[in-house]
Symmetry: C2
Subunit: 451 residues, 2 copies
């Protein structure tokens, strides 16, 4: 077939933009052989056109004027990798208005203010893709949108932030405390100068909102999502968890309850939280800055994807996949969800049920365990495992309780009772990750062979 | 958007065909909400139209005439899931000739005689898709064809046959010998009455040929692929491997050497073989009838996919993904490789290098280890680990040697020397899986953050 050329404008020449330029130069032949298409980079939007940068492909030029991208009639598609919300929103909206297709890696914008942009793309009949926004090189948007299009998605569980996972992995491997591991991650360039977006769970939350839309076809208010980060995780708890057969991971999870709230709005359990993950789950084996997503779907069953969630070339690989889809002129309105998207209602976090890991520092005196067990029993929380570790110089000993499944409300009340009645100050409590169960059962047992 | 209807004919109502009918009835609403398309099943081709079967969707009818599918002007696309080669080839060719799009799950046909069908699809400008042919519900064809289109694929390593993996998992978990585990798999319906296709590696080989085309854009003669199955694996070796930190898995692997042979044909290492896989690799954790694929790509880096490789609904999920792509009217010639596909040349298996596990039964007498080590040293094979286990009643003891990387030729010669000089009859030798290394290095270290 004759080679077709897609002319693009690139906004942003940071990590991802730089990776895209590298990849376009290096693998142009591979792309053409495989797809019959060639990508021609015409303009690159940067803040400062005088700054020394990597060499651009032949014919590509720097500009600091947004309209040089959006209004150039030769440009077919605009790639937005500048990040942030205001300029990016302006750029994407104008590009769509001017009839350009758009590819973006901007998870924050799409999660918090994305719907009007999807609407505009539909109205203008332009392609709007964002594979690189979630989990870097892992083709999770494509998988949910196309490969699993015929499936009811029951649950989605992900490790979606490489920085947090790197920090937790280092804490685990080298027995570091959080502050030391964070400092090391910052020094090595895995964490930003202001790491809050990563370690406080907001980045994971942005990605979870995008995956929720694709999984359940429901819209979530970002502001309503319960989000807990990893600042409070102690090296001590990581070690105890390991003794019990778990790794601690920052998890983004969404489960379809298949129920509706009082107003008839679909009820979904979704949150970002640190959790104990059993060694026997593949998710527990996600190390360093890698990302992973586990999906439970009614037909496909259990699917697990693992790969690089960030970095210049892995992310550029995802951007290019989108650009090549644009070059194939895929059906523009292939959003993967209906644009008259229903709102979802959140299950109150208090109603979520989970198993829990509770670690307390107690004085090693007779009756302590009895009193603590009493506080638990009063709230109908039953225990699956108790572990008492060696004490410290102060005479206090760590006591770990693993519970059976219980609601967060019961767990909170039991902990409050322990605080009040036993004067225990240091209590740490984490969820233990369980595979999603009954809410949405596989509707038929899988037949492996013909009868 | 208004709902568009794709009318299909289905050939075959066995495991996969039955799953497709179930899924079409159950999830039609989900499919429509997500994609704006509805799939209408019009005709189902079966061998015996009188046999009692599951209820079809409204309006669908059974037929035993192939042309009722291929020649019906109302039918847009034909799904081929009858298996076998002759009827399937006739059906697909005629459907394309009559202007139908085709979706198939037929790995044997595509691997052994697929190229003329791809050519015909191109000539007729029809869509020809086969996601369900490889690794069931795992979207690996889509990933290689679209998501990784901008990547040079360095290596691909897969567990691609669920039956073999189920048997090996049962042997490992319950210390069964091969014959017992096979009998159990047959009884439970995981293995066919004639299990050769699965356990002798041919099914894995078919899938590997398809993945090779997509990964490297090269054609392989199926007949030339080195294939070794799992019949010769003893429970004993599985136990010894475990002691050393490995699982034994049936692997399909292909690596791009980036070299050419004397005629200028690209040289690729590809084979199907049982191998020891370190516990530290995700591939070692693939249990039961699951499949998995690991890809090393120059931009995306390391990617790992895990999911159900067979079964009615998981495979039907993949077939439906293809049908929905047809409904989106994706660019017909999106094969993922150039149709003037170059031939690949195989690296001679003798030249492959690998680490090896060698297990011998020897008489426990002075000088035995010295003599064996001498045979190894004469062929420049060096050892990384030696393990001697307890002996049996005959006075023979098992001796395990783990080697550093060496060529298969050297390994074969060393083993022959041990057989000849020491009169050792029982020698077992397996490759130890290593992650693909230098042949195709990542061309740039990944930058996690902007400079």
């Amino acid at each position: 077939m004759p080679t077709q050329i897609l002319t693009i404008g690139l906004a942003g020449l940071g990590t991802v933009g730089g990776g895209l330029v590298t990849l376009l130069k290096k693998n142009a032949d591979i792309i053409e052989r495989r797809t019959g298409r060639r990508i021609r980079l015409k303009r690159v939007l940067v803040h400062n056109i005088r700054k020394k940068r990597q060499e651009l492909p032949d014919g590509a030029q720097l500009t600091d004027k947004l309209t040089d991208l959006t209004d150039d009639p030769e440009i077919d598609a605009v790639v937005e990798v500048i990040g942030g919300k205001d300029t990016a929103r302006t750029l994407i909206a104008r590009a769509l208005d001017q009839g350009k297709h758009v590819v973006t890696a901007n998870k924050a914008l799409l999660a918090e203010e994305g719907l009007p942009l999807f609407e505009k793309a539909k109205e203008k009949k332009r392609i709007f893709r964002y594979e690189a926004s979630v989990a870097g090189a892992i083709p999770i948007v494509q998988a949910l949108k196309d490969s699993l299009a015929s499936n009811h998605i029951c649950a989605l569980t992900g490790i979606l932030n490489g920085t947090s996972n790197y920090i937790l992995s280092q804490m685990t491997a080298n027995s570091l405390d959080f502050a030391t591991a964070l400092a090391e991650a910052t020094e090595k360039g895995y964490a930003e100068a202001d790491p809050s977006l990563d370690i406080d769970g907001f980045d994971t939350a942005h990605k979870l909102i995008l995956l929720l839309r694709l999984s359940f076809g429901l819209h979530y208010d970002f502001a309503k999502l319960p989000i807990q980060g990893i600042r409070d995780i102690a090296a001590f708890d990581i070690r105890l968890a390991q003794q019990l057969g778990y790794h601690i991971k920052l998890i983004g999870q969404a489960r379809d309850t298949t129920r509706t709230d009082a107003h008839g709005t679909p009820l979904v359990e979704a949150a970002v939280f640190p959790a104990l993950v059993s060694h026997s789950f593949l998710l527990a084996r996600v190390e360093g800055s890698f990302n992973a997503v586990h999906i439970k779907a009614d037909a496909a069953g259990s699917l697990f994807f693992h790969g690089r969630g960030a970095g210049d070339l892995p992310t550029a690989s995802a951007v290019l996949a989108d650009l090549l889809a644009v070059a194939r002129e895929e059906y523009p309105n292939n959003t993967g969800f209906a644009l008259d998207i229903p709102k979802a209602s959140l299950v109150s976090p208090e109603e979520w049920t989970s198993c829990y890991y509770v670690r307390l520092m107690v004085h090693d005196s007779p009756g302590v365990l009895r009193d603590i067990a009493g506080c638990m029993a009063n709230e109908n929380v039953s225990m699956s495992k108790v572990l008492q570790d060696e004490g410290d110089a102060s005479g206090r000993v760590p006591l770990v309780l693993m519970t059976h499944e219980t609601s967060q409300r019961s767990m909170d009340r039991a902990i409050q009772a322990i605080r009040d009645k036993l004067n225990v100050r240091e209590i740490v409590c984490f969820k233990v990750l369980s595979w999603p169960r009954s809410a949405c059962p596989l509707f038929l047992p899988v037949r492996e062979r013909a009868a």
